[in-house]
């Protein structure tokens, strides 16, 4: 499948100077989707119609799991008069991921507009925007944008005379990877330690303060005005058919031009590395890449030919789209060292609630540290894989899986390098 990316003009972050300012956003048609929906709220754009349009667009969540956004919205129960919430997830804490901050900085009103439409569609009156605490500068950008939207009557009571009320509160995290997990995010918003909750009940049944709640990624919500303005059929035709729409690709590591790029979904990995990001720096060869944040399985250079950045294509290759935060590694990269550092991260970030994760992440790091420092034995590799089996699927949330997958796939796909490191050590020779 070939994606026409060369003629693609960014939609989420178009190149318009000053677009982060409300007046410029309005001059370029901003809040037009919201006006359209509110004007037709008892006609073409009933709440059900908005949900169906988003569902039919095929928009899939951009936070990692890739669930159909409109379908998620449809899980909200019928309004019973009590409070309901949206929590917009801007925790963006998966290593390799740095895309949502681009929206906060350059097109915050697109996200705000999408959130208001989502709130209308799900009869929600309060949207909490959870942004990681490290993004203080971007939290300030968002707070200003939200204040401006209030002043112009896009937020608050009786929005544009429609009788619809939506409040938006920007909430700062304080340094915890786990708070990007949706139930942990809710705990954190409620003012607690970010311990994930057991599901079911799912957030749509019992979310924030026990009330129906939908958690959507920032980028997912920013896509909503595009769908309302142009229709589901238009949206479906952007990029990969089973995972359509524009994607903010975060490209980091050993490329000449790292950064965030907006292109259609399904872009070939090779196009992104060699044509978009300028190829591997210093004329080196590609060794490996992590396609969608540190928890997605690593791919060797020989595994990426013809593979596109969408969930189906990446599944065929043996990985996942995740957050589309690609980490590119050149031929000089020490894979054992990289895996140790990834395991160090998950050990540091395990919340400690479930034993297999709390202890497992610690042992993964310890054993990898030992191997990395030349003290490993061959049997350590199988011990690591066995540990992964003990962790996967045995905890309240997916952090244990996120910690185990990199270990499992990196060892499987680069076994020779791990074995080489475990040979000729004092332990192997004794």
């Amino acid at each position: 499948m070939s994606i026409d990316w060369k003629s693609y003009k960014p939609l989420l972050i178009p190149q318009i100077k000053g677009l982060q300012n409300l007046d410029v956003y309005e001059q370029h048609g901003g809040y037009g989707a919201l006006k359209k929906v509110l004007a037709e709220k008892s006609g073409a754009w009933t709440t059900d119609n908005v949900i169906n349009e988003v569902k039919n667009s095929g928009l899939r969540g951009r936070g990692g799991a890739g669930f159909n956004t409109g379908l998620k919205w449809s899980f909200m129960p019928k309004p019973d008069g009590g409070p309901r919430y949206i929590a917009a997830n801007g925790d963006e804490s998966e290593p390799g991921t740095f895309k949502d901050r681009q929206i906060f900085e350059y097109n915050p009103h697109l996200f705000i507009e999408g959130s208001i439409i989502a709130a209308y569609a799900m009869s929600v009156e309060t949207v909490y925007v959870y942004i990681r605490g490290e993004y203080r500068s971007w939290i300030n950008f968002m707070r200003k944008a939200v204040d401006d939207a209030y002043k112009k009557g896009y937020l608050g009571k009786n929005i544009l005379g429609s009788g619809i009320n939506v409040d938006m509160v920007v909430h700062s995290g304080a340094g915890a990877y786990i708070c990007g997990e949706e139930s942990s995010l809710m705990e954190s918003l409620e003012g607690k330690r970010g311990y994930p909750r057991i599901k079911p009940p799912f957030p749509a049944q019992r979310g924030l303060w026990g009330r129906p709640t939908t958690i959507n990624n920032i980028e997912s919500l920013a896509n909503v005005p595009l769908i309302i303005n142009n229709g589901a059929d238009w949206y479906k035709n952007i990029g990969a058919p089973t995972h359509p729409g524009p994607i903010l690709y975060g490209i980091s590591g050993h490329v000449n031009k790292p950064g965030v790029y907006e292109y259609p979904s399904g872009m070939l990995i090779t196009d992104l590395i060699y044509n978009v990001a300028g190829g591997i720096r210093n004329g080196k060869k590609l060794k490996a890449l992590i396609p969608g944040g540190s928890s997605t399985p690593i791919l060797r250079a020989d595994q990426i030919d013809g593979i596109g950045m969408d969930s189906d294509s990446l599944r065929t290759a043996g990985s996942m789209l995740g957050t589309a935060g690609m980490v590119i590694m050149d031929e000089d990269t020490d894979i054992v060292d990289v895996l140790w550092r990834i395991s160090h991260f998950y050990h540091h970030e395990s919340c400690g609630q479930c034993t297999p994760c709390r202890e497992g992440t610690g042992w993964l790091e310890k054993i990898l540290h030992k191997i990395n420092h030349g003290d490993g034995e061959m049997r350590d590799l199988d011990l690591l894989l066995d540990l992964c089996t003990q962790m996967e699927g045995r905890t309240v949330c997916a952090l244990a899986d996120a910690a185990a997958w990199p270990v499992r796939y990196t060892i499987t796909r680069f076994r020779d390098e791990f074995e080489a490191r475990c040979k000729n050590t004092v332990y192997a020779l004794s």
């Binding site: 991921t97 350059y106 490290e134 915890a176 003012g191 980091s252 790292p258 590694m329 970030e349």
Partner: protein, 178 residues
């Protein structure tokens, strides 16, 4: 040490609490508020936060200790959070960390005797494309670090000046312009 909030600060705190259906939800925002004022949230500050929230100290301590950005003890005037996570690691994050350690004569987790600088090695800060990088005292990001840039930042901080925010646009926009 005993810490207090002024009447105006208590009013601001009440305004923050009003944004949430329950007071407990203001725990993180009020810890931030306190840290911005006192520079840390040590057990005495936690006690004050618990008092204004009307929550047990144990709750506030539990929250403060869970999140890495709250300083549980007084820190240097400037805290250098050097990212050494995945993308920064493969781009020389540890080299920057060690350069700063050598320059300031302290190890990560320590504070210089004059109380000016603390250094921490931290997990992913979400600036992977601009690696290696660091964040200064939970605030401004300094991207594309080199030893020379680290030196400049230290000089500038010694003169009391925080580096400016670095706006980074999408590289494809640069291309469209040229």
């Amino acid at each position: 040490m005993e810490y207090t909030f002024t009447k105006e600060e208590r009013d601001s705190i009440e305004a923050i609490c009003a944004k949430y259906p329950e007071r407990m939800a203001a725990t993180l925002p009020i810890l931030w508020f306190a840290q911005d004022k006192f520079g840390h949230v040590d057990p005495d500050v936690q006690k004050l936060v618990a008092e204004v929230l009307g929550m047990p100290e144990a709750h506030v301590h539990g929250v403060a200790s869970f999140y890495t950005q709250y300083y549980k003890k007084p820190m240097g005037k400037y805290v250098l959070d050097v990212c050494t996570c995945l993308s920064c690691h493969i781009s020389g994050g540890y080299d920057m960390l060690h350069h700063l350690e050598n320059k300031l004569g302290i190890k990560e987790g320590e504070t210089t005797p004059d109380g000016m600088f603390s250094i921490q090695s931290v997990e992913c800060l979400g600036a992977c494309g601009y690696a290696p990088m660091m964040q200064i005292t939970n605030d401004v990001f300094v991207n594309h670090l080199t030893p020379e840039k680290c030196d400049k930042v230290i000089d500038s901080l010694r003169a009391g000046k925080l580096p400016e925010f670095e706006a980074i646009t999408m590289p494809q926009h640069d291309k469209e312009v040229s």
